[in-house]
């Protein structure tokens, strides 16, 4: 188990190294090269020259790469040119990361809280009206562009529900501790602030949760259908066990294995979806920074955020694989 974890962590380092190489190449391939990319098109020739020297662009390419790598390892990705001009990329990331975690966490909670029970019910009533309806709904769910749904929620539903549609929190004097606004409100016992931040999370989280929800629903349904056909469920029935025990211990515990993997893979969809959703709701998270970064070609910020997104995605999937071993004794005891 430990050896497996270490091997996976080494693989992660490998992936990040290759990615850094790709991103380095990406930066070089940019129109006008990294100098224009970092300073923008309107930079004076003097500052261009200064940066060329500072970045060591007059040196051989592999020296450049190692310098780039060295700076990156010390957390120095440069200064933002478009998202929050003047701030360092790392600063922007650290400031916005908690927001996106809060949002994605709520979204995945919604997806799981609805996806698993509905998937189970649909499988139990396979072929019935509830099954057909919810399968149809989940297929439509993945066909709707996320940002369009976000707009519909924002402009059509928000007024009916009385929920806020912009930002992370209204301008109230809330104490900042961790950067997680809801969590901050709870630990400082500023309940208004916590509730306000939570209200701001709801609509974007719902928009963000649609695709993970649809996927979790369908995987749960398929997994439960498979498990219901298994001999050991028939054994459990032959023992006269009560329906809740059969559902929990025999059906769901086995059906959860593929579902857990799916949830890990869905963090990828969440990261990309956050770019779209946070833009619609002007939600000051990493996704919004990426959206603005793409629009204004803010390469230092993009570089850092893409690397961070990859690390988060890979680490989450590593954690999922490890948890898999804890759920499935066949892997654990091998």
């Amino acid at each position: 188990m430990l050896r497996y974890t270490i091997r996976r962590l080494i693989q992660l380092v490998g992936v990040v190294l290759v990615l850094s190489l790709l991103l380095f190449a990406w930066l070089r391939a940019l129109p006008g090269g990294p100098v224009s990319a970092l300073l923008g098109e309107r930079a004076t020739p003097e500052s261009r020259e200064a940066l060329t020297k500072q970045l060591g662009l007059d040196q051989p390419i592999f020296v450049q790469y190692f310098k780039f790598l060295g700076r990156a390892l010390s957390g120095d990705f440069g200064v933002s040119t478009g998202v929050q001009p003047g701030d360092s990329a790392m600063e922007i990331f650290l400031q916005r990361f908690p927001a996106t975690i809060e949002l994605s966490f709520l979204a995945i909670v919604i997806a799981i809280a609805f996806g698993i029970p509905l998937g189970y019910l649909a499988a139990k009533r396979r072929g019935g009206w509830f099954d057909n309806l919810s399968v149809g709904g989940s297929l439509i769910g993945v066909a709707v562009p996320v940002f369009f749904l976000a707009y519909v929620l924002k402009d059509v539903l928000s007024s009916a529900l009385g929920l806020p549609t912009e930002g992370r929190q209204d301008a109230i004097n809330a104490t900042r501790v961790t950067g997680f606004f809801v969590f901050d409100g709870v630990i400082t016992q500023e309940w208004d602030a916590a509730l306000n931040a939570l209200e701001h999370l709801i609509l974007p989280a719902v928009a963000l949760s649609t695709i993970p929800f649809a996927v979790v629903f369908r995987i749960t349904r398929a997994a439960v259908l498979d498990v219901l056909d298994e001999d050991f469920v028939r054994t459990a029935e032959s023992k006269g066990l009560t329906a809740p025990v059969i559902r929990r211990r025999h059906v769901l515990r086995n059906a959860m294995l593929p579902v857990v993997t799916t949830i890990g893979l869905q963090t990828g969809a969440l990261l990309a979806g956050a770019v779209l959703t946070e833009k619609v709701f002007s939600f000051a998270g990493v996704g919004q920074a990426l959206a603005i970064g793409f629009e204004r070609r803010d390469y230092p910020v993009l570089l850092l955020l893409i690397i961070m997104a990859t690390i988060v995605y890979v680490v989450v999937n590593l954690l999922v694989d490890l948890s898999y071993a804890f759920i499935d004794p066949r892997i654990r005891t091998r």
Partner: protein, 331 residues
Amino acid sequence: MALLEVRDLTVVFERKGEQPFTAVDHVSFEVEPGQTVGLVGESGCGKSVTSLAIMGLLPKRGARVSGTVGYEGTNLLSLSDREMRDRRGRDLGMVFQDPLSSLNPVVPIGVQVTEVLERHRDMSRKKAMVEAADLLDKVGIPDPTRRLSEYPHQLSGGMRQRALIAIALACRPRLLIADEPTTALDVTIQAQILALLKELVRDMGTALVMITHDLGVVAGLCDEVNVLYAGRVVEKAERHELFAAPRHPYTHGLLSSIPRLDAPRGQKLSPIKGSVADNIPWDHGCAFAPRCPNALDVCVQVTPAQEDIGGGRLLRCHNPVRPPVVEEVSA
């Protein structure tokens, strides 16, 4: 009074857009307390469906069950889902064919034994654990306390089947149904499991319905045998009589397709020709007729009725095999 009394049990599978398929067709038999009864036939003859119908384990949708299954005078088919749930595991136990797939892979063996004790015998988890270890010991699993915390994949095939038997007998049911319990096992293990079953049902006074396609199993275990063909009982007899003088050509065919050590040298095995796919519907005559060496014209025109041929034997055949002469003299 018989412990189990199955009367005219009929199971019809219905699927949308397809012809209904009668898997079990007016099957009747009895099991006395402590008796071992065999249900014998090829794959698809309806023997497993019969057992699932008795246990109330057939799917609610798609399977239409009629007739009666009397258990100590109560018709199990008329019980509600909940009442049936109370009886399964307590009054009736069942052992299945494939011990690996019949055990939950992600739940420790111990829990799979104790859950049935907690359910029907109101035991605490702690007490049930002690009892479970005792049960595993009784079915011949060495080091039972350690095994309780292990998972099915850590046990050998024979051990798994022993664990399943322990689960089925945990609440000392008066009836045990074993559906091909040895088919998925190695030959050497098969004999051990059969010996174990025989010993347990004798010690506990449990009645056993043994479902098998293997006449060897029947010979070693059953008091009485029902031979099924295409969903109907074609012959019923006490074990020794059946082996000594099979009357139905199908039973005869089954017996003569078994290799025997005492057979004269050079005698060829005679397999039954064709397969179940060659059946004709019972409504039009005898379902076995297309494969039957004794078939007459009448066999494909008139459905044979079940007749009592004396000695507690039942037979459904227009042109039965004649009993061997030796047998008649000695009788």
